[in-house]
C-alpha cells in the first residue's frame, strides 16, 4: 500500500545547496543508467552478458523499477537455458542475485518488488537453501518485528520447504512475543499456526492454548492498554461454530394464486431462488426482475404461483446446496426441506447446511476451538480483577463485556450494560459503538420475552429504559407478529423486519428510506418526525399502501409512488 512518501519530515525536506546539487547529479546518473538499460533491452541482442550489469545499475538506484526486474528475469531465463545451463553455473548466477537482493532489502525492507524477485530466483534454483532464507526472514523480523513483508516471506519459505506445520514455528512466535508483548503479527500468526500444527491432536492443542491463556494474562497485566494480547484472547476463547439452519419460514397469501415465501436463516446468505425445488410440479416459482443489487441477508423471499387462485399452499420446498453461493466447494452439504400444509407457517423444517462461512477453506486451519463455559468463567474472574485494579483502562472492561455477553443471563447482561456506560465515558471517540452494543442487549432481552407470543398479531415492545440506536436481529422477531411500534427511539435506519405488515418508527433519527425491498409484506409505514430529506427508496416497498411522513427535518419533496398513499 505504501506508494506515497511515508514518514518524511518536512523540516528535513528543505535541501541545502550542496544537497540540491547532489540530488541533481543523482537524477542525471539515473536517467543515463536507465537509457543504457533501455537501449540494450530494445536492441537486437538484449541478452548480452553485460545486460545484467545494466539492469543492476538501475535497480540499485531504484529498487521499485519493476520493468527492469522483469527484464533481468528474462535475461536470467535466457542464460539459464544457454550459456549457464550447467547446474554449477546456474547456482552461481542465482547466488549473485540473492546477494544483490540481500543488500537492497536491508536498505528498502518494504519494497514489494525485491521480495517478488527473490522468490522468483529461489523458485528457479533446483535446491534452494531454505534454512538460509529462514535466517534472512529472521534477520528482517529482528530489525522490525512487525514488517509484514518479513512475515509473509517467512510463511512463503516455510511453504516452499514443506514446513508450514513445523512445531518450531510455535516456539519462534513464542520467542517473538516474549521479546515484545505488543507484537500483534506474532499473536496473529499463532492463531493460524496452532490449529494447523496440532491438527487432530486436541490434547496437544489444548495444552498450547492453556499456556497461551497464561501468556496473555502476563501481557495484559504488564500493559493493559496494549490491544494485541486482548484481541488474541478473543481468539483463544473461540467462537461457537454454527451451521446454516432455517430459523423459520412462512408463506403469505399475496393475491389470487400468488404466495410470498419468506425463509429466515441464522446467518446472511447469498441464495439463488431459481434453483429452489418444489415437490409439486403444478406450482412454480415466479421470476421477478430486479435492477438493484440487494444486500445478502438472513432472509430470502420469493413468490410461488399456485395452480389456481385461492387454494392454500400445500407443498414441500427443497433447498439444495446449489441454491446457495457458498464460499467453498468442499463444504459438507445436506439439503433443507420446508413443508407447508396450508397454514401460514411452515410446519416442518428439516436439515442443515454445514458451511464454512466463519472458517477458512483449508480444513486444518478452520478448527475453531470454542472454550467450555468454565474457561470463560475463569477468564471473566481474572479480567474483572484487573478491571477493578485498572479502572481507567478500557481494555479490561471491553473484555469483560465480551465474556458477560457470551455467558448471558439477566445479571450478566445488566452488568454488561453498566460496563458499556463506563466504556462510553472512558472512550468517548467510540461512543456510538457502545450505544449500539447496549441497544443490542436491550433488544435481545425484549426478544427473549417474546419467544412465546400469544396469538395476538400486535404486541407492543414493552417500555425500555433505553432509546434503541439499532436493531441487531430484526429477522428474529417471531413471524407471527405483524404490527410493531418502535416510535420514540434513536434509530438511524429503518430496521428490516421481514414479516411485518405495519411498522411505526415515528420520532427516530432516520435520514433515508432504504431496503424496503427486503420487507415484501409491509403495507403501512409511519415515519413521522424523523430526519428524512428525500423519499427516494419508497418505491422499493412492493406491497406498500400507505405511508406517513409529516414533521420531518426539512419538508420532504412530494413524490408520486404508484399504489402508495402518502400523508405529508
Amino acid at each position: 500500500m505504501a506508494d506515497g512518501s511515508h514518514n518524511q519530515k518536512k523540516s528535513s525536506a528543505v535541501l541545502s545547496a550542496a544537497e540540491t546539487e547532489a540530488n541533481k547529479r543523482r537524477t542525471k546518473t539515473y536517467i543515463d543508467k536507465w537509457a543504457v538499460m533501455a537501449t540494450m533491452r530494445d536492441s537486437a541482442d538484449p541478452f548480452d552478458a553485460s545486460a545484467l550489469d545494466a539492469t543492476q545499475a538501475v535497480v540499485e538506484l531504484n529498487p521499485d523499477a519493476y520493468t527492469v526486474w522483469n527484464y533481468r528475469r528474462r535475461i536470467l531465463t535466457h542464460l539459464f537455458a544457454t550459456s549457464h545451463s550447467d547446474e554449477k553455473d546456474r547456482v552461481l548466477l542465482a547466488k549473485q542475485d540473492l546477494k544483490l537482493l540481500e543488500k537492497l532489502i536491508r536498505i528498502h525492507p518494504k519494497s514489494y518488488w525485491l521480495w517478488v524477485h527473490r522468490r522468483w530466483v529461489l523458485e528457479n534454483m533446483s535446491s534452494p537453501d531454505w534454512d538460509r532464507e529462514l535466517l534472512i526472514s529472521q534477520m528482517m523480523l529482528d530489525l522490525d518485528a512487525r514488517n509484514f513483508h518479513g512475515w509473509s516471506y517467512r510463511r512463503s519459505v516455510l511453504k516452499s520447504a514443506g514446513r508450514l506445520q513445523d512445531l518450531a514455528e510455535i516456539e519462534y512466535t513464542n520467542a517473538k512475543i516474549r521479546q515484545n508483548f505488543s507484537n500483534y503479527s506474532a499473536w496473529h500468526y499463532r492463531s493460524r499456526l496452532i490449529p494447523s500444527v496440532t491438527g487432530e491432536d486436541f490434547e496437544q492443542r489444548d495444552s498450547i492454548i492453556q499456556k497461551d491463556f497464561e501468556t496473555v494474562r502476563n501481557a495484559i497485566y504488564t500493559e493493559p492498554a496494549d490491544q494485541s494480547a486482548w484481541l488474541y484472547q478473543r481468539w483463544l476463547l473461540g467462537q461457537k461454530p454454527s451451521n446454516l439452519i432455517v430459523e423459520w419460514a412462512i408463506a403469505e397469501h399475496a393475491s389470487d394464486a400468488k404466495f410470498i415465501v419468506i425463509v429466515c436463516f441464522n446467518a446472511p446468505v447469498s441464495m439463488n431462488p431459481s434453483k429452489v425445488i418444489l415437490s409439486d410440479a403444478k406450482y412454480r416459482i415466479e421470476r421477478t426482475a430486479t435492477n438493484s443489487p440487494i444486500m445478502p441477508s438472513h432472509v430470502v423471499s420469493f413468490s410461488i404461483i399456485a395452480p389456481q387462485a385461492d387454494t392454500p399452499l400445500k407443498l414441500e420446498i427443497c433447498l439444495k446446496p446449489d441454491c446457495f453461493n457458498l464460499p467453498t466447494s468442499n463444504s459438507q452439504l445436506e439439503e433443507i426441506s420446508l413443508s407447508f400444509d396450508g397454514t401460514r407457517s411452515a410446519m416442518r423444517v428439516e436439515g442443515t447446511i454445514t458451511t464454512q462461512s466463519n472458517a477458512q477453506t483449508d480444513n486444518t486451519l478452520q478448527m475453531n476451538q470454542y472454550q467450555p463455559l468454565e474457561i470463560w468463567e475463569r477468564e471473566l474472574a481474572s479480567i474483572r480483577e484487573l478491571a477493578e485494579f485498572e479502572p481507567e483502562s478500557k481494555w479490561p472492561w471491553m473484555a469483560l463485556v465480551h465474556c458477560l455477553k457470551e455467558l448471558g443471563g439477566e445479571n450478566n447482561v445488566r452488568e454488561a450494560i453498566s460496563v458499556c456506560d463506563t466504556l462510553e465515558r472512558l472512550d468517548p471517540d467510540r461512543k456510538n459503538y457502545y450505544r449500539d452494543t447496549i441497544s443490542d442487549f436491550h433488544w435481545n432481552q425484549t426478544l427473549d420475552k417474546l419467544t412465546n407470543p400469544s396469538t395476538s398479531e400486535s404486541i407492543g415492545i414493552p417500555p425500555m429504559p433505553w432509546k434503541l440506536t439499532r436493531i441487531p436481529t430484526p429477522h428474529l422477531l417471531p413471524p407471527i407478529l405483524t404490527i410493531l411500534n418502535l416510535a420514540n427511539h434513536a434509530l438511524t435506519d429503518i430496521p428490516v423486519f421481514p414479516c411485518l405488515r405495519e411498522l411505526n418508527v415515528d420520532n427516530n433519527l432516520i435520514q433515508i428510506v432504504r431496503r424496503l425491498d427486503m420487507m415484501p409484506l409491509l403495507q403501512r409505514l409511519s415515519i413521522k418526525k424523523n430526519m428524512l430529506k428525500s423519499l427516494r427508496g419508497l418505491e422499493g416497498g412492493k406491497g406498500l399502501k400507505e405511508v406517513w411522513v409529516s414533521e420531518n427535518d426539512s419538508v420532504v419533496e412530494q413524490v408520486d409512488v404508484e399504489r402508495v398513499l402518502i400523508h405529508y
Binding site: 500500500m1 506508494d3 506515497g4 512518501s5 511515508h6 514518514n7 518524511q8 519530515k9 518536512k10 540530488n23 541533481k24 537524477t27 538506484l61 531504484n62 521499485d64 519493476y66 520493468t67 522483469n70 528475469r73 514489494y112 522468490r119 509484514f148 509473509s152 510463511r155 505488543s182 500483534y184 503479527s185 496473529h188 492463531s191 496494549d226 494485541s228 484481541l231 446467518a267 446472511p268 447469498s270 439463488n272 431462488p273 431459481s274 421470476r287 421477478t288 426482475a289 430486479t290 435492477n291 438493484s292 443489487p293 440487494i294 444486500m295 445478502p296 453461493n325 464460499p327 467453498t328 462461512s357 477458512q360 477453506t361 483449508d362 486451519l365 471517540d429 467510540r430 459503538y433 431496503r515
Partner: protein, 343 residues
C-alpha cells in the same frame, strides 16, 4: 501548522505542478507508477470539483501511450504491463468518459488471464499473488462491464478472498497473512463489487423482456463478519484522531481511506469520531506547497492527497463531490457507467 479548513486552491495548484518537478530524483524514481499518480491526482481534482484543472485530452493521450498491444497498461510509457496500472488506466478513462478509446474486451481478457486456478489473481506474468490484485481485477472488470463468465470465475475469486480471512474478521494479502487495513479494503471492496447475477435458465426464457432480465443480484458481503470487523476497524482510531492500519502502529492519512471506506461499506462510520478524523486530515495539509502528507508535519504527496480528500468526502466534509467507497471514484462517474449504487 495548518488552517482548519480544506485548502482547495492550493491542492489544485499542487496537483497541476506535479509534472513540473523534473529536476528531483523522486520524480524519476517514481516514474514506474506515474499512471497511478495520474489517477490519484485526477480523482483528487474531481472530488475537489476542479475537473478541468488538467487537460483531459492530454491525460487520455498519455494513458493510451502506456497501453500495450495486449490491452494491458504499464506504469509509464516504456514500462511493462501490470494489473496495478491497468486498473488506474481504466479508472482514469471512466472518469474522463473515454472508455470507448480502448478495446474493452481485450483489456478484460488480459485481466482475466491473470486469474489462477485457486481463484486468486497475479499482478503480472511473474505470478505474485496478493488480494490487492483480486481487488484490482474485479474492480477493473466491473468498470469495463465485464464482471462475468467467461472473463472471470467470480465464485472462485470470492473463495480465495474468503480464505484470507482472519480471526479478527480482517483480511491479509494471502491465506495466513496478518490483517491489514489496506488489504481489508481490497477484500471488502471486492466482495461489495462482485454482484451475482442470476440468469433465467435457458428453457424458461420467454420473449418477454422482463423474464430475460437478471433475476436477482447480490454482493458477497454475507461473508464478512460485519460487527467483528467493523469494531476492529474502529479501534484503528488513535487519540489524535488519525487511523492506523494495524494494532499498535502509527496513524497515517491513507488509512482515512482504507479503514473509512470499509466502515462505510459496512455501514459503521458512526463507530469512530468523525470530527477528530476530519481535523487530523486537515492538519496533515501542507500549507506552503499544497497537498496532504501521511501525518501532520511531513512532506505531502499525491497519494496521501487523494486518500485525505476522499476520506473527507466520505466524512461529509462540505463542498466535495461524493465518493464511492467501493471504487474510490466519484459517485456520478459510476452512475454514468450504470454501476448500481451501494445498496
Amino acid at each position: 501548522m495548518s488552517d482548519n479548513r480544506l485548502l482547495t486552491d492550493l491542492h489544485v495548484s499542487y496537483i497541476q505542478g506535479l509534472d513540473k518537478k523534473k529536476e528531483s530524483f523522486e520524480y524519476w524514481a517514481g516514474e514506474h507508477l506515474r499512471l497511478n499518480g495520474v489517477y490519484w491526482g485526477l480523482t483528487s481534482l474531481h472530488l475537489l470539483k476542479h475537473e478541468s484543472a488538467l487537460d483531459s485530452n492530454e491525460v487520455i493521450e498519455y494513458v493510451l501511450a502506456c497501453r500495450h498491444s495486449n490491452g494491458a497498461f504499464g506504469g509509464h510509457t516504456g514500462h511493462d504491463a501490470h494489473l496495478l496500472y491497468t486498473l488506474s488506466a481504466v479508472q482514469i478513462l471512466c472518469t474522463l468518459d473515454a472508455l470507448d478509446r480502448i478495446d474493452r474486451d481485450q483489456t478484460a481478457k488480459y485481466v482475466a488471464s491473470l486469474q489462477q486456478p485457486d481463484g486468486s489473481f497475479a499482478g503480472d506474468e511473474y505470478s505474485e499473488i496478493d488480494t490487492r490484485f483480486s481487488y484490482c481485477a474485479l474492480s477493473c472488470l466491473s468498470l469495463l462491464g465485464k464482471l462475468q463468465a467467461p472473463f472471470v470465475d467470480i465464485s472462485k475469486a470470492v473463495t480465495f478472498i474468503h480464505s484470507c480471512k482472519n480471526f479478527d474478521g480482517g483480511y491479509g494479502s494471502v491465506p495466513g497473512a496478518e490483517s491489514h487495513s489496506g488489504q481489508i479494503f481490497c477484500c471488502v471492496g471486492a466482495l461489495a463489487i462482485v454482484v451475482f447475477i442470476f440468469i433465467v435458465p435457458k428453457h424458461e426464457k420467454t420473449t418477454n423482456d422482463t423474464a430475460r432480465a437478471p433475476q436477482l443480484s447480490q454482493n458477497r458481503l454475507d461473508l464478512v463478519e460485519t460487527d467483528r470487523l467493523a469494531w476492529w476497524l474502529a479501534e484503528r482510531q488513535l487519540k489524535n484522531g488519525g487511523l492506523n492500519g494495524r494494532p499498535e502502529k502509527l496513524e497515517d492519512v491513507c488509512y482515512s481511506w482504507w479503514v473509512l471506506s470499509c466502515l462505510s461499506i459496512l455501514d459503521r462510520i458512526h463507530w469512530i469520531n468523525r470530527e477528530k478524523l476530519v481535523q487530523f486530515i486537515l492538519n496533515a495539509q501542507d500549507t506552503d506547497t499544497g497537498g496532504i502528507a501521511d501525518r501532520p508535519g511531513d512532506v505531502s504527496d499525491v497519494f496521501h492527497t487523494l486518500f485525505g480528500i476522499a476520506g473527507l468526502s466520505l466524512l461529509g466534509y462540505p463542498g466535495l463531490e461524493p465518493v464511492d467507497p467501493r471504487y474510490c471514484m466519484p459517485v456520478k462517474v459510476l452512475q454514468r457507467l450504470g454501476i448500481p449504487d451501494q445498496p
